[in-house]
Amino acid sequence: MAILDVEHICKSFGRTEVLKDISFSLEESQVLSIIGSSGSGKTTLLRCLNFLETPDKGTMKIRDKVIFDADAKTNLSEAQIRENRLHFGLVFQSFNLFPQYTALGNVMLARELEAKGRPDYKAKKKEILAEIEAQAKELLTQIGLAERMNNYPHQLSGGQCQRVAIARALAMRPDILCFDEPTSALDPELTGEVLKVIRELAEQKTTMIIVTHEMAFARDVADTAIFMDDGYILEQGNAKELFENPTQERTKQFLRNYQS
């Protein structure tokens, strides 16, 4: 059973159709990379998965449970949207860390706020907060930033910020972690450390969807790949196959441009 099924998603901004009949599925513990030129709809697709945009048509299912259906008459309440979007985590191109919180604070904040809604929060406040802090510290250790956990974002390099952002997303234990061009805002020197973290997550069988322009990385780390062009999925399948033997002329042309 697939962990994610996306069926016939369409999305327009005004008259511009950005996503045209997008369908794909993703198996648990697999990594999907999405490639394509700028403006092909990759980012919008990720934003739809994370409920930052609402598709005009189509459905999304997590483990066969419908979490979004454009035809459903009932409007989802804000609380339901929140619950559904927590199936996904999203790492942004521009990190979007909260500047007034330390690295540790960034990783803990959302879980602290979530814990306040628990019925046993008042009775077990100390234990709950201690558990959240322990988990956050473990995540920061995992991404190699244990020593910098009390630093504020402006005291960290871009690569370190992005790693904190990854830890922050992981703290919510999403089923699927999405990356929106996670290294595009980084110096080439800092790109490696972020890719290394993502690679380690892949080895630990984290289910991920990665939008990236790092072609070699997309090929190596991904199990399956999607090539998008002008709002369509032109080609999808096994990552190695798609990169080495693309069937579509447009895909070949795109990949050639990256090799030169």
């Binding site: 007034q100 504020y152 922050r168």
Partner: protein, 228 residues
């Protein structure tokens, strides 16, 4: 010179009493206009068109006309036109009317500062909060608010220093604030008349007050330098 030293305690006492009224008007205005301004800024950013328009017109009127007119109208209109002097008579009535006028006027100015502060926060902050499952209310209180405060402290400081001096406008409805108290010695009060030097003294009160405020506001700005 002897007369100066005889008059000084009398004048200082009168100025102290006046300055207390000045400070009260300043404090009440600040306490009222800071939260009201935030509420108005939400109004001017409302998604409901009619609400947005109403608040924009209110802000336009209060920022577009002199505070002195607003004071006069708010104080005299109920009594003269509606034949119902809601503010009551005497110093207390004048003080309440002055507070209402100042709070409304300054809330409109503050609302624009708040609006600028909120709008200058990148959309990515809200989106990051949303994908982490935070509610809009939590995102405002725990993510955006402090960033907004940091951004508005410098323009807000400016308005606050202006407010200290603007309280003297309440003189127009004969509120007995410090200028009123100083001016009394020109016309004649407590056996002193034709004296202009008490007016110079009022200037010193303002200078000291704004000096203290500048230091305090500067400290707040410094405190918020821990993040960028």
């Amino acid at each position: 010179m002897d007369t100066f030293f005889q008059q000084l305690p009398i004048v200082l006492h009168a100025l102290n009493v006046g300055f207390l009224q000045t400070l009260k008007l300043f404090g009440v205005t600040l306490a009222g206009a800071l939260p009201l301004g935030l509420a108005i800024s939400f109004g001017t950013r409302s998604n409901i068109k009619i609400i947005k328009s109403i608040f924009k017109v209110i802000v336009w009127i209060f920022r577009g006309t002199p505070l002195m007119i607003q004071l006069l109208i708010i104080y005299y209109f109920p009594g003269l036109v509606m034949h119902n002097a809601i503010w009551g008579g005497g110093e207390k009535g004048r003080f309440i009317a002055a507070c209402v006028a100042f709070i409304l006027n300054y809330a409109c100015y503050f609302s624009e500062i708040y609006r600028g502060g909120i709008q200058s926060i990148p959309i990515g902050q809200e989106e990051a909060g949303l994908v982490l499952g935070m509610t809009k209310r939590q995102i405002f209180a725990r993510v955006k608010l402090l960033q907004m405060i940091k951004r508005i402290v410098p323009p807000m400081s400016n308005e606050i220093l202006t407010l200290v001096k603007d309280t003297s406008l309440a003189r127009i409805i004969a509120l007995q604030e410090i200028i009123w108290a100083g001016q009394a010695f020109m016309k004649g009060s407590q056996g002193i008349s034709g004296a202009i030097w008490p007016l110079f003294f009022t200037g010193i009160y303002y200078l000291i007050c704004n000096g203290v405020l500048t230091v305090v506001l500067g400290k707040i700005e410094k405190k918020l330098e821990f993040f960028r």
